[in-house]
């Protein structure tokens, strides 16, 4: 790749000054995996998260002139992503409220994708910071040095936070497993055609 040794700040400045397409592609490659992992963990829905990440990258391009080249790129981009995710979540919430008014009965959750739903339920119990650490480490595969930069703490502190987040996730799951598993019963009057 052309920009292996070029840091994020230099890439952003290069893109802003000369509209270098390779520079913006390199930034997308560096950030899209972490952005998707975070958006999925914040929003709890893959399709909506993909839309939010797409929108965040478009905002990055639109707001390129607001980037302060004397400051690090990563926090600036994470702020754009977070704001986009918040806007998306608010939009989804408004949409669901309107549908609830209109719908006579909520559709039952589909029988598929149970692992995803279960995990999103477990993650929703954790603190936002715990969720982010787990997403960045296990879904985006970031090293702790980068997670520390994202969290604004030392690498050692990030490792400790990671251990605590994983311990909490395991504890939450153990509590969940200890509960009686929900029994899915098909309605007894399920149609059986002649």
């Amino acid at each position: 790749m052309q920009f292996v040794d070029t840091n994020d700040e230099q890439l952003m400045v290069r893109f802003r000054m000369s509209f270098d397409q390779e520079a913006i592609r390199t930034l997308l490659l560096r950030y899209h995996r972490s952005a998707l992992a975070l958006a999925r963990c914040w929003l709890g829905n893959t399709a909506v998260a993909e839309d939010a990440v797409q929108e965040a990258f478009i905002r990055l391009v639109r707001e390129r002139d607001r980037y302060d080249a004397s400051r690090p790129f990563a926090p600036w981009f994470w702020r754009i992503l977070r704001n986009t995710v918040l806007d998306t979540a608010r939009g989804v919430q408004r949409y669901e409220q309107r549908l609830r008014v209109l719908a006579l009965e909520q559709d039952t959750a589909p029988a598929l994708a149970t692992e995803q739903e279960e995990l999103h339920d477990l993650l929703a119990i954790l603190d936002a910071e715990d969720r982010e650490i787990l997403a960045l480490r296990f879904a985006a595969g970031l090293p702790f040095a980068e997670i520390a930069a994202r969290l604004g703490c030392s690498e050692e502190a990030a490792k400790k936070k990671g251990q605590r987040a994983l311990a909490r996730l395991r504890a939450v799951r153990q509590r969940r497993v200890a509960l009686p598993a929900p029994v899915v019963v098909l309605p007894s009057d399920a149609p059986v055609p002649d």
Partner: protein
């Protein structure tokens, strides 16, 4: 963590967490391995932890569609940069961006369809300067996106035209819009179908209820008429033409089939307590219908149940699922009035579920062209084989989506709407034309797009003009 565990197990479980996070040094890793060899409980704990973090990776981590998403974002970012560059007057890419903008503006100005308040019933010719080939005012829109409307049969186009007492069925020449015939009686419902010789629709019956009528496609004369009320209550359901000179429809909890040539009953199947049934779909040998509680395949010649698949849903859903079949797969869209639409893809021979996926929004319409194209908030494309997302395109509205020759056609927005052509492989816009209003029915055939607009007109548009 359990306080009753021996000390070395407590220590081991800390090490397991550090191992899963990739933080163990060689000495710690050795200690953990030695303990795991002896302790079954910690081995189980290690496996459970590994499964848990793997699940986090699978749920939040890379998905099969991520590469396509990245490519799409890169293209959009470049387009956005080009557009912004043109606005800010920067030197690079200005020519390309200006050319692109000129194309878009040109299409918008030249191809804008005028909104006419005239109420005459004749055809109005157009041309490239108007954006349409012809227009017929006073045509009724369709009340559901689950059926194709208007209906194209060879060179003949069938649609509903509004009259003072209700609506009539008209047949027009698809090339010129010239009126071929119009029924002398009012028709009812939104259902309309045709085979090579007949047009089929519903008309109000003298004693209440509806009659199914078959009309000669050449002159509009009634060939046969039969009461809908046969066994149980049947309303004016969407009519589907089947192979073997038959047609069927669903109403309440029944699927009914009759002979297309004479209207004589062939078979009728009652799906007790199934709830509201979908519009049927067929693949030659079978008819597929679904409700909130399941999917059924019926033999098209006998109505015999070939297979059925139960869904963990509700029979009280306000809108039934939508079922589509292209011979290779049966796709069912459920949750059509909730925040979470859901797609299921089945084998048409066995009913086996091939894939299922959440689409995050209600499904307004869907079309199959190898892959699956869904209007659910945005337009989303999914692999027909795996259900993996391929691309999504942001288009407001809920009008039908039509696939034809490597392009998807639909309308965007309401009021100031546009007809949009998308590249079927990438979802990028190929062209768009401004319209008087959005549409409730859209069909593309023989390079012509026929559009039942909500402004009360039927438009014929040549898809090559902006292609």
């Amino acid at each position: 963590m359990d306080d009753n565990l021996p000390l070395h197990c407590v220590r081991c479980r800390e090490l397991i967490d550090r191992h899963l996070l990739g933080l163990l040094d060689a000495e710690e890793a050795d200690a953990m391995r030695q303990h795991l060899v002896q302790c079954e409980s910690c081995r189980r704990e290690a496996q459970a932890g590994a499964d848990l973090v793997a699940a986090v990776g699978r749920t939040l981590g890379p998905q099969p569609g991520d590469a396509a998403l990245l490519a799409r974002v890169a293209v959009q970012a470049e387009q956005e940069a080009c557009a912004g560059n043109a606005q800010s007057g920067r030197p690079r890419l200005v020519l390309a961006a200006a050319a692109a903008a000129a194309v878009v503006l040109g299409v918008g100005v030249v191809l804008c369809l005028p909104v006419s308040s005239s109420d005459h019933r004749g055809v109005e010719s157009g041309g490239p300067e108007t954006g349409y080939s012809w227009r017929i005012p006073g045509v009724r829109s369709c009340c559901t996106a689950d059926v194709a409307y208007p209906v194209v049969c060879g060179r003949t186009l069938l649609a509903f035209q509004g009259v003072a007492t209700g609506k009539r069925l008209i047949a027009v020449d698809g090339a010129t819009g010239g009126l071929l015939w119009r029924t002398e009686f009012d028709v009812t419902g939104c259902s309309l179908a045709a085979d090579l010789a007949h047009a089929f629709t519903w008309r109000p019956a003298a004693g209440g209820g509806q009659n199914l009528v078959a009309l000669d496609l050449a002159n509009g004369q009634i060939v046969w008429e039969r009461a809908a009320r046969d066994r149980g209550d049947t309303a004016a359901g969407a009519i589907l033409v089947l192979a073997g000179n038959a047609l069927c429809w669903t109403a309440a909890n029944q699927v009914v089939a009759v002979d297309a040539g004479q209207g004589t009953p062939l078979w009728s199947v009652k799906l007790d307590r199934a709830g509201m049934l979908s519009v049927p779909a067929a693949d030659g040998a079978a008819v597929f219908v679904a409700s909130g509680l399941g999917l059924w395949a019926l033999a098209s010649d006998s109505g015999h149940v070939l297979w059925q698949v139960p869904y963990a849903g509700s029979r009280l859903q306000p809108i039934p699922p939508a079922v589509y079949c292209d011979g290779q797969k049966v796709v069912v869209a459920t949750g059509r009035f909730t925040a979470r639409g859901f797609l299921r893809c089945h084998d048409p021979r066995t009913g086996q579920l091939r894939w299922g996926r959440d689409v995050a929004a209600p499904v307004h319409s869907l079309t199959l062209a190898g892959d699956v194209y869904v209007r659910c908030g945005k337009i989303r494309a999914f692999s027909g084989a795996t259900g993996d997302p391929l691309w999504s395109a942001a288009l407001d509205g809920c009008s039908p989506v039509v696939a034809w020759q490597q392009r998807l056609y639909t309308t965007e927005g309401q009021g100031h709407a546009s007809l949009v052509a998308l590249d079927i492989r990438t979802g990028t816009r190929v062209w768009q034309r401004h319209l008087a209003d959005s549409c409730s029915g859209l069909v593309v055939a023989r390079r012509m797009g026929y559009l039942a607009s909500r402004d009360g007109s039927l438009y014929a548009l040549d898809t090559r003009w902006s292609g």
